[in-house]
């Protein structure tokens, strides 16, 4: 087991390195001088030269990469051109809303999708199954921003149950914090529910065909007990894996949802930074999101080896 854990961690390093190289190259491989792009239209030749020297753009590409990633690993991503503060402090300011939104979304989606998927598998072919699968196809097809605006229209504008937009920090009271976060989380959870319900259904269906489920039924255990303690428990590994893979979908959704609900998080920051051509910020945020995705999936993989003694590599 330790051998596997060691190899799995080592295998992650090249992926992280390649992600870093790709994010770095994105800025450098585009036509034109990055220093000129960063300096903007009104810059003088002197400004451009100064920026080039400051960013180390006059040195070889490989050296530049190691300077950038070396500083990045120490938390120094330079200074934002648009916000006039360090990128690190900018990210620190914006991380709370994004983490809160993502956590509540995963929580909501799991609470809705796992029972739905289990029920659909248990009653395979019934109308419940059809409805769950129908909802799932719908969930994949409705764009996040359309869901967001429909929810705002119905629950905020027509019914007045929730505020239209905005965010309140956790420190200012948990009531207002949750009240403002519920609509965005439901919005973001829809696609996640679709993904998770489908996967739950498939893996529970597979487990329901196993011998030990038949044995459990044969010895007279109530259906609910068989479903929860035998089927669902054994189907947990693929379900948790999909939560991990779904983080990519979640990050994409965060970017859009934060823009719809005007939440000052990392997703909103990415869009604003892209529109302002604030490249140090863009690079840092993309790198952060990608690393988070890879590391969360690493953590999930490692969790299995500890939690599920059947997994041997």
């Amino acid at each position: 087991m330790w051998n596997y854990i060691g190899r799995r961690i080592l295998a992650t390093i090249p992926v992280l390195l390649i992600v870093a190289v790709l994010v770095f190259l994105m800025l450098r491989l585009t036509p034109g001088d990055p220093a000129a792009v960063i300096a903007g239209d009104a810059a003088t030749t002197q400004d451009v030269a100064e920026i080039r020297a400051r960013l180390g753009l006059d040195r070889p590409m490989v050296t530049q990469f190691f300077i950038w990633i070396g500083r990045g690993l120490q938390g120094d991503f330079g200074e934002s051109f648009f916000y006039k503060k360090t990128v690190a402090s900018l990210i620190a300011d914006r991380i709370e809303p994004t983490l809160a939104l993502a956590t509540l979304t995963i929580l909501l989606a799991t609470l809705v999708a796992v029972p739905l998927g289990t029920l659909a598998a248990y009653r395979q072919g019934s109308w419940i199954d059809r409805i769950v699968m129908g909802i799932s196809v719908m969930g994949f097809s409705v764009p996040v921003f359309v869901i967001g605006y429909v929810l705002i229209y119905v629950f905020a504008l027509q019914l007045g149950w929730f505020p239209v937009q905005g965010y309140q920090r956790l420190a200012e009271g948990i009531g207002g914090f949750l009240h403002r976060l519920i609509l965005p989380s439901i919005t973001l959870a829809v696609v996640f529910v679709a993904l998770l319900a489908r996967m739950t259904r498939t893996s529970v269906l597979e487990v329901l065909n196993e011998d030990y489920v038949r044995t459990a039924r044969a010895k007279g255990l109530p259906n609910l007990k068989v479903l929860v303690f035998h089927a669902l428990r054994n189907a947990a590994v693929p379900i948790v894996t999909v939560i991990g893979i779904g983080i990519a979908v979640l990050i994409g959704g965060v970017v859009v949802t934060e823009s719809v609900y005007n939440i000052p998080g990392l997703g909103r920051l990415t869009v604003d930074a892209v529109l302002a051509r604030d490249y140090p910020t863009v690079q840092a945020v993309i790198l952060l999101f990608s690393f988070a995705y890879v590391l969360i999936n690493l953590a999930i993989d490692l969790m299995y080896t500890v939690l599920d003694p059947r997994i041997r590599y």
């Binding site: 790709l22 239209v164 498939t202 970017v255």
Partner: protein, 312 residues
């Protein structure tokens, strides 16, 4: 590997390549309700896009300052060159520049479908070539797959918005930026198929009698990738349409004067609380289109690739 089957190579090489050529598989598509409904809806939307100039006589970019922000059903009248009065009804209302939403929605169908189909074809073709060679040539495999892993780790929307912002917004850059994040998924699929096919006796036989690599790939490996790739291409088409709309919506996509569903919605964002129709109409069309494509994809997958449908 080649030693094991060299006994009767000529016999095996003569055998036809295993393909999805059984007539049954393609015929069965016609009996799948999901395929039929999906294809019908897509056909209708495509017709809408093609017949856009017939469905609306107005220029989708025409600005009309006196007709700004009208609610659906608003009637306006103008006089034509001979002084006759023509009444025109804005079925879906107008936006804050007085452009007709209905006209823009109808023209928007063109952009969405063009982007979706082009992205699907582009990413499948590039992914297919990379995947074939990565799966077949051992020395290439490690490097290519690590790069693909890295590319897949960057969330698609972030990769796309930064690519568009760096290279300037146009239809072309949006298509390329949306296609790039999809390539690794195709490569993985093709590579997995190649790895299983290359162990088949008829492929080993073909190799052992000295068939050139390119010919082995073309005659024996490629036909096996067609059915799964059609399924994959359908889903890519759907997600590409969603991603393009998200990019336009965020203001980093196709230039705002082009009528795309995402652009109409982006324009309606600021006044959404007063005039929700700017977002709801194009949103409904977008949802319907992607739903139709996903239904078609689900049906195709169940019919053409039963193994895959078990997995998800």
């Amino acid at each position: 590997m080649t030693g094991r089957v060299s006994a009767v190579p000529s016999l095996i090489v003569e055998a036809p390549a295993v393909t999805a050529r059984r007539p049954g598989a393609w015929l069965r598509l016609l009996h799948n309700p999901s395929v039929l409904i999906g294809a019908l809806l897509i056909g209708l939307i495509a017709l809408t896009g093609i017949a856009a100039p017939l469905l609306s006589g107005i220029d989708p970019a025409a600005i009309n300052p006196s007709n700004r922000n009208k609610t659906p059903g608003y009637e306006s009248s103008i006089r034509d060159d001979e002084g006759r009065k023509i009444t025109r009804k804005a079925v879906m209302g107008t936006d804050s520049l007085g452009r007709d939403i209905y006209t823009r929605v109808v023209y928007g169908a063109r952009v969405s479908l063009i982007v979706g189909i082009t992205v699907a074809v582009l990413s499948v073709c590039i992914g297919l070539v990379i995947g074939l060679f990565a799966g077949y040539l051992r020395w290439l495999d490690g490097v290519v797959m690590r790069v693909m892993d890295g590319l897949m780790a960057i969330p698609a929307i972030l990769l796309a918005i930064s690519l568009v912002s760096l290279s300037g917004a146009s239809m072309m850059t949006v298509i390329i930026a949306v296609a790039i994040p999809d390539i690794p998924r195709v490569v993985r699929l093709v590579r997995a198929i190649v790895l299983s096919i290359r162990e088949e006796p008829y492929v080993e036989a073909a190799i052992s009698v000295g068939t050139p690599t390119v010919k082995v790939l073309w005659r024996h490996v490629l036909p096996n990738t067609i059915a799964p790739l059609i399924v994959q291409a359908t889903f890519i088409c759907g997600s590409a349409i969603l991603l393009e709309a998200a990019l336009s919506f965020l203001g980093v996509g196709i230039p705002p004067e082009t009528p795309t569903w995402g652009n109409i919605m982006a324009e309606g964002r600021s006044l959404f609380q007063v005039y929700p129709h700017n977002i709801l109409y194009p949103g409904a069309f977008l949802t319907l289109t992607v739903l139709a494509i996903n239904m078609l994809g689900d049906g195709l997958r169940d019919t053409l690739d039963p193994r895959m449908s078990k997995r998800l």
